[in-house]
Symmetry: C2
Subunit: 223 residues, 2 copies
């Protein structure tokens, strides 16, 4: 970890705590679906406010650091990036709440089919968040690039899930309502991976001062 003063270290700690809660929220939302555990789904929804509190707290902390310490160069970019990252983390948690809401509905209906690709997507997306935050704190460009590369895997899985569900719906219209809810869950996971990718792009941008955010993966590797 780069040398930082006590206040920046505290900011890191709070970010890690927030990311930990967000990861748990994703894991529990998918478990509430695969294990048909509506109590767990309700817990995810009820505890979202804790993540919101971190968002506001870290934002305030960053504003205070900017005002009091008037940081320059690297520290300045670190703090403004932290402010943007919390927004992404908070929206990731909103997607976990959306998954839990769909789980509550799906748990009331018969199981359409066992969930195979969705837990896999969850695993990749959650790892992407963890690595994106670690890449930020350690200013680890290589790890951030690695997160960006993994986004395609989640996109492909989402496409596969979607096509399979479309096929099921076309074969049997009585499945439409459930299939659409499952396709939403898959879409929420894809969006979670997108947010993790956004975070990783901001990290590369911060470390390199290079405009990576609006490049395609190929340009990133070769430029």
């Amino acid at each position: 970890m780069p040398v930082r003063d006590e206040e920046l270290k505290l900011l890191n700690e709070h970010l890690l705590q927030m990311a930990g809660l967000v990861e748990r929220s994703i894991r529990d939302s998918i478990r509430s679906l695969t294990e048909r555990d509506s109590t767990l789904a309700r817990k995810v929804i009820e505890e979202d406010h804790k993540i919101n509190t971190y968002d506001v707290k870290i934002d305030e902390e960053c504003i205070r650091l900017l005002a009091l310490k008037q940081p320059m160069g690297k520290d300045l970019r670190f703090i403004t990036t932290a402010m943007k990252i919390t927004t992404d983390l908070e929206r990731i948690a909103d997607n976990a709440v959306n998954i839990a809401e769909r789980a509550l509905e799906l748990n009331e209906e018969p199981l359409l089919k066992p969930y195979i690709d969705i837990p896999r997507m969850r695993e990749i997306a959650q790892g992407m968040i963890r690595d994106a935050i670690n890449a930020f704190i350690n200013e680890d460009k290589k790890l951030a690039m690695d997160v960006i590369m993994r986004d395609d895997e989640v996109d492909d899985l989402n496409q596969m899930v979607f096509e399979e569900l479309m096929f099921i719906m076309t074969q049997d219209p009585s499945t439409v309502s459930r299939a659409i809810k499952i396709s939403f869950v898959s879409k929420y996971l894809e969006r979670i991976a997108d947010h993790a990718t956004n975070i990783a792009e901001m990290v590369v941008y911060m470390v390199e001062g290079r405009i990576i955010r609006h490049m395609v993966p190929n340009e990133i590797e070769t430029s």
Copy 2:
């Protein structure tokens, strides 16, 4: 408009220009669908890079202002809020690109039914963006609150569109592929309205120093 120095005025101008491009992108993406104009859809997709350029440019401008002017109090919050707003604007434009992509696909297939609610959603969502940006520049809390209130209208229309499409799919499985693409367009518009709401919430927060971001509408009105 509050009194501001030349550099902050320039920042406002760039934000307004970016928001103008984003609004046009939304309008054109929906027109490409309702008028079945695939050339226009491709234009929306191709010109998205202009909006990305603004995102990076405004971000750099804010970092420079923070480093050189070391602003305090109101100006500090104004600049950090601008940095967050550009992220939302850029993602709104991504949703317009997604709409254009679905339009390209839908324009290749027979029309499922005339679009009535979707143009209405577009109109509301676009107005929300315009007003959210104006609320930011003029520090107009009342206008920002008004934007937040309008989000429910878009949510309700999205729900209506979705239920209608579900009914159509259940009646006739041959419509599934088209109906799902239309439901995605509706969902993208709903997400655009969510981003406008996020911007408006940040404006209220900036003006009032009050934590509005994680309240429900009722709490906002009465607190």
